[in-house]
């Protein structure tokens, strides 16, 4: 099954690194419905109190012991819970006229709940293709991509649309807000189509835009627009948040505020976040950093201590 020697190595190192490592700060889960399902350690169901809307055990764990285990290994690449997303031997080849241009070569990857994964690579490294495949916008030439127990590679267009609609949040480099709608309306528009949407106003408040709700994109700064875009992505309560160079067109201080918003979202909503960037400084923020070059994963690094957005500079 593991045909990629690099990927095999990565799994090995990952296990090495995580075993007995010091706990990174536990990401506190907000006990909302989708996180009630299973213990992050043993995957067994969590008991909930019948009279108050609280779990009987610490959040996201089956027993207090498991909570401790969870806390020890807040970021676990050998997580025994099924990965939210996984890629097996994924290759993507673009045909440009007569020549085949490989964008991804036999990539194996697992992404788990609550992770903040930074995918780092120069342009042409295949990072965008990877993101597109994760987002169900492209299908790989070979290999399989799974979201929980759904095989995306086997899905048809309407199913992929439904996948994006219900499970994926996108943040674009150029924000791509509807200029004809206010910040609030932009978020509401997307919240409307999601089955388990969050309150648009509340999410906007979380990203610090409580006083800009009724502004149109043309009346907002780039950073504000990007934070609206993040709120828009989060409002549908996605299982995975995909960010494509979210700071790519922002200056440093503004970019940092946007990163802070992403970090906060990852922390407060426990959303699996995948951020692609060519900006190496951002890597320090990730719980895991994956470097791509020439379509291959060249290095995987688990940050034992995640830097906060304030600590980053470029």
């Amino acid at each position: 099954m593991r045909t990629n020697p690099e990927a095999g190595l990565w799994l090995f190192t990952a296990t090495q690194n995580t075993s007995g490592s010091r706990a990174v700060q536990f990401i506190r889960t907000i006990p909302d419905r989708e996180n009630r399902a299973a213990c992050a350690w043993c995957a067994r169901g969590i008991e909930w109190s019948a009279h108050c809307d609280k779990p009987m055990t610490p959040p996201g764990a089956h027993t207090p012991e498991h909570a401790a285990m969870n806390a020890q290994t807040a970021v676990r690449t050998d997580d025994p819970t099924p990965p939210v997303m996984s890629m097996r031997a994924v290759s993507k080849i673009y045909r440009m006229g007569e020549i085949d241009v490989p964008a991804l070569r036999a990539v194996d990857l697992e992404l788990h709940a609550r992770e903040f994964v930074v995918i780092l690579g120069a342009s042409g490294s295949g990072k965008s293709t990877l993101l597109n495949i994760l987002g169900g916008l492209e299908t790989p030439t070979t290999g399989t991509v799974r979201y929980l127990d759904h095989e995306l590679t086997a899905a048809d267009e309407p199913s992929l649309t439904r996948y994006r609609r219900e499970h994926v949040g996108f943040v674009f480099q150029f924000y791509n807000l509807l200029p004809s709608l206010t910040a609030l309306e932009n978020v509401e528009l997307v919240a409307q189509i999601a089955p388990r949407a969050r309150d648009a106003r509340e999410v906007l408040e979380r990203v610090g835009l409580a006083d800009r709700l009724h502004h149109f994109p043309a009346q907002l700064s780039g950073g504000e627009q990007q934070r609206v875009a993040i709120a828009r992505a989060l409002a549908k309560r996605p299982d995975v948040l995909l960010c494509d160079e979210p700071t790519g067109s922002l200056d440093f201080p503004t970019g940092r505020r946007v990163l802070a918003a992403l970090e906060q979202a990852n922390r407060e909503f426990s959303t699996l976040t995948v951020l692609i960037t060519h900006n190496a400084a951002i890597a320090a923020m990730g719980s895991r950093v994956i470097r791509l070059s020439s379509g291959r994963i060249s290095q995987t690094q688990v940050n034992e201590r995640r830097a906060s957005a304030e600590e980053i500079s470029w």
């Binding site: 965008s128 993101l131 597109n132 987002g135 916008l137 492209e138 309407p158 649309t161 439904r162 996948y163 994006r164 609609r165 219900e166 994926v168 996108f170 674009f172 480099q173 150029f174 791509n176 807000l177 509807l178 200029p179 004809s180 709608l181 309306e185 932009n186 509401e188 528009l189 997307v190 409307q192 189509i193 999601a194 009724h214 149109f216 994109p217 043309a218 009346q219 627009q225 828009r232 992505a233 549908k236 494509d244």
Partner: protein
């Protein structure tokens, strides 16, 4: 279309010239042949052709009803200088010189009745039954339209022209050495009115009716009217079409320039002057127009030729071919070029006003600000998608208004086509329901005593008989005059009613005349004013009568008098020139057999057949127009909606693709884009109704003719039809755009803007 019209006019011109169509026409009772020499000697007269012309009842194989035949003598010296209104032999041969039973038949009559060469027609010549053999088919410039006695419209099955040897007709109608009809060609600079007067004076002693020029010659008139209609279409349709085309070109260029603004900025930063860049885009626009022109000419010529093909079925011009004249091309091209030029220039002007740096930056997010929408209370409840749709429209109110106007214009075009169709049917229905209610009209060759009615009453199946007297007359009011027939009817007549605007009966006043409104307008007289009436047959009395009121029959023009009153004035004993009959339909075949064999009848017209014929004629002159207008309307709506949706798509493609990435389905994204178009179309429908009604109203004077007058009648069905066509065309355009939405590049939007 203009080319078609000009081709028709040219064909008519050529035909009239080559066949030497006469300028002046006159009839008399019986004039001696030597009079022709005196006519020829009149100043301004170039050629004189005398003829014997008689209307007879025909028995046509395969036709149960009697038909009317106009027998015309063939010229004795064919090809001579005096040979006017020359025939074109389309098949067969001329009758043998000494034959008294061979005849040429008009091509249209033969075609309508499917008569082969060698067919036999029954005819009563001078009281004796005679069988004529068809030896050839011919076309005559005098009978491009063949309109029989007591007919307003041509009915090619029941009225036809036959040409026979002069000898044969002279013998049959006691016209040896005499003539009763004359056609005169005038010299180029002759004064036609003077010739008319002179001819009248010479023919007066011989029972001459007042001479008339081409404008009162039935076939010429009818043809002119029809060409007039075609001219209206040839002007009106391309105008709308070009206006919309200019609009489309304008929006296309504006869009192109907004996409290319960074190139414009680059060129400007390199130091190109604004006018150079403007010129570049203007050249581009002109290239498009030039390509369009070539294509238009390439497609227009076969289209024109196809239209001519249709008209060739109706107009029997031997030389009717589609010819594109340089003038037509120049007009078409310059209209198209200037439309494009104006469109392109204004778009280019906007682009070149940009400062180089500004032009090189991508357009900043389009500015939306809280506006009208936010101030309306009910918008609170709208979902964001609807708000987006409304704001996008509100942001470019002029563009939205132009789109609405364009779609409305297209819809109005459809409405006009449909309106004319409806109005024509309504007109025929009104006329025959309210005014002409007889089943059969019988016309005598000349004025008869009332006792002729008794023999009509005795015919099988005749339920009631109502006599009428038709008196040819010239009506004068001040400097204006008009040659019409005065129709004298009994005061309590049931079978012919004079009607008012609501279709209610007007009683014939015991004294004075009632005029058809149109005739009143031609003579510029109003009720209460006096008219001079000159009798043109019989005793040729002149008398005055007061116009009592105006009537509203939609077909034909007439002056009405009480039959007793007219008889008193003319001091004749209630003479009649024909009668209207109500018949028992079951006995109609026997009646027709009898009528065919009655020598004292010059013409029979049958209501049902007339209605059918008028329907056919109206259809054929209008159905083409209706079809073309509807077709153009559809093309315009599709073009407008498609264009406007495409522009929206090119401007907002990345927005829509982003939404698709965010998980919106194709359907939802399509709704967002087409919702805008749907609103435009919905807004355009009432506007189209109003504009359509206005255009129809404007057309009323165009179709206010002597022959018929269209009522201003817009039915709910017309509105519904136009709305339905507009909606369907819009849906078609939407479907075309939806295909493009399905092909949106989702990945591209992640990386680029615009």
């Amino acid at each position: 279309m203009r080319g078609t019209y000009l081709s028709l006019v040219r064909a008519r011109q050529i035909y009239y010239t080559t066949t030497r169509f006469a300028d002046v026409f006159a009839q008399s009772r019986r004039a001696p042949l030597p009079l022709a020499e005196r006519l020829r000697a009149l100043p301004g007269v170039k050629a004189v052709q005398t003829r014997v012309v008689e209307d007879v009842t025909l028995t046509v194989p395969g036709l149960t009803e009697p038909a009317t035949g106009r027998l015309i003598s063939l010229p004795t010296h064919p090809g001579s200088a005096d040979d006017l209104d020359r025939l074109t032999l389309t098949a067969g041969r001329l009758p043998a010189p000494d034959s008294d039973s061979e005849a040429l038949v008009s091509q249209t009559f033969a075609t309508a009745n499917a008569l082969p060469l060698g067919a036999h027609l029954g005819v009563i010549l001078n009281g004796r039954w005679k069988e004529l053999t068809v030896v050839g088919f011919a076309l005559s410039p005098e009978y491009i339209y063949e309109i029989g006695p007591a007919m307003i419209f041509p009915d090619n099955r029941r009225f036809g022209v036959l040409w026979m040897n002069r000898e044969a007709l002279g013998t049959a109608f006691q016209m040896k050495g005499a003539f009763n009809d004359v056609a005169i060609a005038t010299a180029t600079h002759a004064s036609v009115p003077e010739v008319l007067d002179a001819v009248d004076r010479l023919l007066a002693p011989y029972g001459g009716l007042s001479a008339y020029d081409r404008s009162e010659q039935p076939s010429y008139r009818f043809l002119s009217d029809e060409l007039g209609e075609i001219e209206v279409n040839a002007t009106y349709i391309p105008t709308i079409f070009l206006a919309v085309a200019a609009f489309l070109l304008y929006t296309q260029l504006a869009r192109l320039i907004s996409i290319q603004r960074s190139q414009i900025g680059l060129l400007k930063s390199f130091g190109f002057a604004a006018w150079r860049i403007g010129l570049h885009y203007l050249e581009f626009a002109l290239c498009i127009v030039a390509a369009g022109l070539l294509l238009g000419i390439a497609a227009g010529i076969p289209f024109g030729a196809a239209l001519i093909g249709v008209y060739r079925l109706y107009f029997h011009f031997p030389a009717l071919t589609f010819r594109v004249t340089a003038g037509v091309l120049v007009t078409a091209s310059s209209v198209a070029l200037s439309a494009a030029g104006i469109g392109a220039l204004s778009a280019v002007a906007r682009a070149t006003r940009l400062a180089p740096a500004e032009a090189m930056r991508p357009e900043s997010p389009r500015r939306f600000r809280p506006g009208l929408l936010e101030s309306l209370p009910w918008t609170e409840r709208l979902d964001p998608m609807s708000r987006s749709i409304i704001r996008n429209l509100a942001r470019r109110p002029w563009r939205a208004a132009l789109s609405v106007a364009g779609i409305a214009m297209a819809m109005a075009t459809v409405m006009v086509g449909r309106f004319i169709f409806d109005a024509v049917h309504h007109l025929v229905a009104t006329h025959f329901d309210a005014a002409e209610r007889q089943d059969v009209t019988v016309v005598f060759p000349d004025v008869r005593a009332p006792r002729a009615l008794a023999s009509l009453r005795a015919l099988p199946g005749v339920l009631s008989v109502e006599p009428f007297r038709v008196m040819p007359a010239r009506l004068r009011a001040g400097p204006r005059s008009k040659r019409v027939s005065i129709l004298a009817v009994p005061p309590s007549g049931q079978l012919y009613r004079i009607i008012d605007v609501r279709g209610n009966r007007i009683d014939v006043p015991p004294a004075g005349v009632v005029l058809t409104r149109k005739l009143g307008e031609i003579l510029a007289v109003h009720p209460g004013e006096m008219l001079r009436i000159e009798q043109l047959d019989g005793k040729r009395l002149h008398f005055s009568a007061r116009v009592v009121r105006l009537s509203q029959e939609p077909i034909g023009i007439s002056a009405y008098m009480d039959s007793a009153a007219l008889a008193t004035i003319l001091r004749e004993d209630a003479a009649i020139s024909g009668a209207r009959l109500r018949i028992d339909a079951r006995e109609a075949p026997q009646l027709y057999v009898q009528l065919k064999r009655t020598p004292a009848i010059a013409g029979v017209s049958i209501r049902a057949a007339t209605i059918t014929t008028i329907g056919q004629i109206m259809n054929r002159s209008f159905i083409l127009m209706t079809t073309v207008m509807t077709g153009f309307g559809i093309v315009l709506v599709v073009g407008m909606v498609y264009n406007s949706a495409r522009i929206a798509l090119s401007e907002r493609g990345s927005e829509l693709a982003s939404l698709r990435v965010l998980g919106f389905t194709r359907l939802e994204v399509t709704q967002l884009l087409l919702g805008e178009q749907a609103l435009l179309v919905i807004a355009a429908i009432p506007a189209g109704c109003a504009l359509g009604a206005l255009l129809c109203r404007l057309l009323i004077p165009v179709f206010d003719r002597e022959l018929f007058r269209l009522p201003f009648l817009l039915t709910r069905a017309t509105f519904a039809f136009a709305a339905l066509i507009t909606l369907s065309a819009a849906i078609l355009a939407a479907a075309l755009v939806a295909v493009r939405i399905a092909r949106l590049d989702l990945i591209g939007v992640l990386k680029s803007r615009e």
